[in-house]
Amino acid sequence: MSKITLNDLSHSYLDKQNSDVDWALRNINIEWQDGGAYALLGPSGCGKTTLLNIISGLLTPTKGKVFFDGKDITSQTPVERNIAQIFQFPVIYDTMTVYENLAFPLKNRGMTDGEINSRVKEIAKMLELTKTLNNRASGLTADGKQKISLGRGLARSNVNVIMFDEPLTVIDPHLKWVLRSKLKELHQKINRTMIYVTHDQTEALTFADQVVVMHEGQVVQTGTPVELFEKPKHTFVGHFIGSPGMNIIPCKLDNGNAAIDGVKVSVSSQIKKSNFSKTEIGIRPEFVSFSEEGIPVKVLKVSNTGRHKIIDTECKSGKIKVLSLTSKDVPSGSAFLSFDKKYTYAYGDSWIIE
């Protein structure tokens, strides 16, 4: 168990780097506390797996350092770092039984048969694998196999961190819920640092206390699920998290005031700077409502999702989605929109202006 510090980490898979796009990771600085549950969230190709493999020691970073409890372990092997990692596809040893699979990492570290036996039994009980312990691992279903991978990760009681690389990708939707709550439960039970990589916001937000959102090799925001939802620091976070995502509408900034289509919009924080090449207003569909005056829009489409309605509207500068309760009436044709000031933010070159 230890605190993990990533210090100015950059990685490139190329020998020479000419521009920003040649880097898979750029200037990552993160501090993870001991025993926390963290998620790395981002779309495919944003560098989250690269980051994970650097922490586990499968990759050596081009620049920067990794610390466990303040100790520089950048050049250590995965075995020396004493970590566990669970991969996207279930990795099992086909010729072994479930028991032998779970015992394998313990055996490799020279534990005695007695210790191994009690530990494997304990893990099997935790993961509900006791009945199948003596079956051949290759005969199990995908979620059974992933449980074994998980079990091998949990088998060693002294690992510094357990890392999950999109572990539920190949699992059926209804079992995803089961395994995910199992993971959460395990975290509370064993209280070990866990890092969970995923591109699925629901998985990230339900699993983690702190979510790190990555975009194009950079960390764009770190925060609790609520912070990410209520105050996205970057338009990418607003857009990526939430369903539907945040409305991002081009706007004009003038003397500390923002305006869309010539209509003044008040935002939650004071705008001190305005020399950006791109300026936008961000507002979540949850905080947009129809009103008597405001931004003039045309109502395009209403989709019903059950409890809520998603209303697609369009102003001159762009499209705006509105989320409202199904019971509320929706005006047809022309209407006006007003934004909840508390949750309206101005973005300059995609970053929040504060």
């Binding site: 493999n53 990692q85 990492p105 490799n108």
Partner: protein, 288 residues
């Protein structure tokens, strides 16, 4: 829903039917025909029942040839399979080395069999061949045309040279299909190099290795051209494998009845061994 009845489709099957009939069924039935009858000239046949089969199965000559055949196949499998896996494991996984190695490995497979025999014959000649001459120069009494041991050594060496590549290519394909996550997981689990081979690479190669062993078993069990050109079955009968013996019997002595019976026995042995081996290898395979 009513099915449309259209018997015209059978017409399209006729070419295949004719082709298969001519290259498989008709020759095989001819062999069956000879195996149960005695023939003299003028297409006169007399029924002999299972006489030829009994004669072959009791003949010492057949037992000896069969023994040599099993020994040869066993030896080359014992060399080629481990050697092929070992070479595949050391082959590069990326870069310019990959195509270079693959092309080099494929070369022996592209050479016609009689050319392989002729090449090795000249290569191994004790007086003028590079191999034969060198071996004699450094003090070995080597002469594959006269000493049975040397003839065996040369035949086995030739087959290893000719066919190990096939095992290498199949094993390499099997190795390349293993997901990197397996190696990463093993690294994190603290597995030794041997454990990675034993618990990841070997099980993942099981299917291609089954194919490799089956192919090498069948080909080596039916080997004819290369030893025929290299040693002609000699010295004496030392390298007269089943097929060489069979041809001697059929075309040399013109004993068509016994030769036909031997062909059928030969065929059933190959079939039986393949069947047993395949079922043994696949008995634990569930759905993949």
């Amino acid at each position: 829903m009513n099915k449309t009845i259209n018997q015209k489709a059978w017409l399209f099957v006729i070419p295949v039917f004719v082709l298969v009939a001519f290259n498989a069924v008709v020759p095989l039935m001819t062999v069956v025909n000879y195996a149960f009858q005695e023939t003299f000239a003028n297409n006169v046949f007399t029924w002999e029942g299972t006489r030829w089969f009994k004669q072959i199965l009791r003949s010492e000559r057949f037992h000896a040839a069969l023994g040599r055949q099993f020994l040869f196949t066993g030896v080359i499998l014992a060399i080629q399979i481990p050697l092929g896996i070992a070479i595949a494991l050391t082959m590069p996984k990326k870069g310019i080395g990959v195509p270079v190695c693959l092309v080099l490995m494929s070369m022996p497979l592209l050479i016609p069999w009689n050319v392989v025999g002729a090449m090795w014959n000249i290569f191994a000649l004790p007086e003028i061949g590079f191999l034969g001459h060198t071996l004699n120069d450094i003090g070995f009494d080597y002469n594959f045309t006269q000493q049975p041991g040397d003839a065996w050594f040369t035949t086995v060496l030739m087959d290893v040279w000719h066919w190990t590549s096939l095992v290498v290519l199949l094993s390499y394909a099997g190795l390349r299909s293993i997901q990197p996550a397996y190696y990463q997981a093993a690294e994190i689990d603290g597995a030794s190099r041997w454990a990675v081979f034993r618990y990841i690479e070997l099980p993942k190669m099981k299917k291609v290795l089954t194919i490799a062993i089956l192919l090498r078993f069948m080909d080596s069990f039916m080997i004819y051209t290369e030893p025929f050109v290299l040693t002609g079955g000699g010295p004496g009968n030392a390298t007269a494998f089943l097929s060489i013996d069979l041809v001697k019997m059929a075309l040399g002595q013109f004993d068509l009845g016994p030769a036909a019976a031997m062909s059928l026995i030969y065929f059933f042995i190959v079939l039986l061994v393949c069947w047993v081996f395949y079922n043994l290898m696949m008995r634990n395979e569930t759905q993949s």
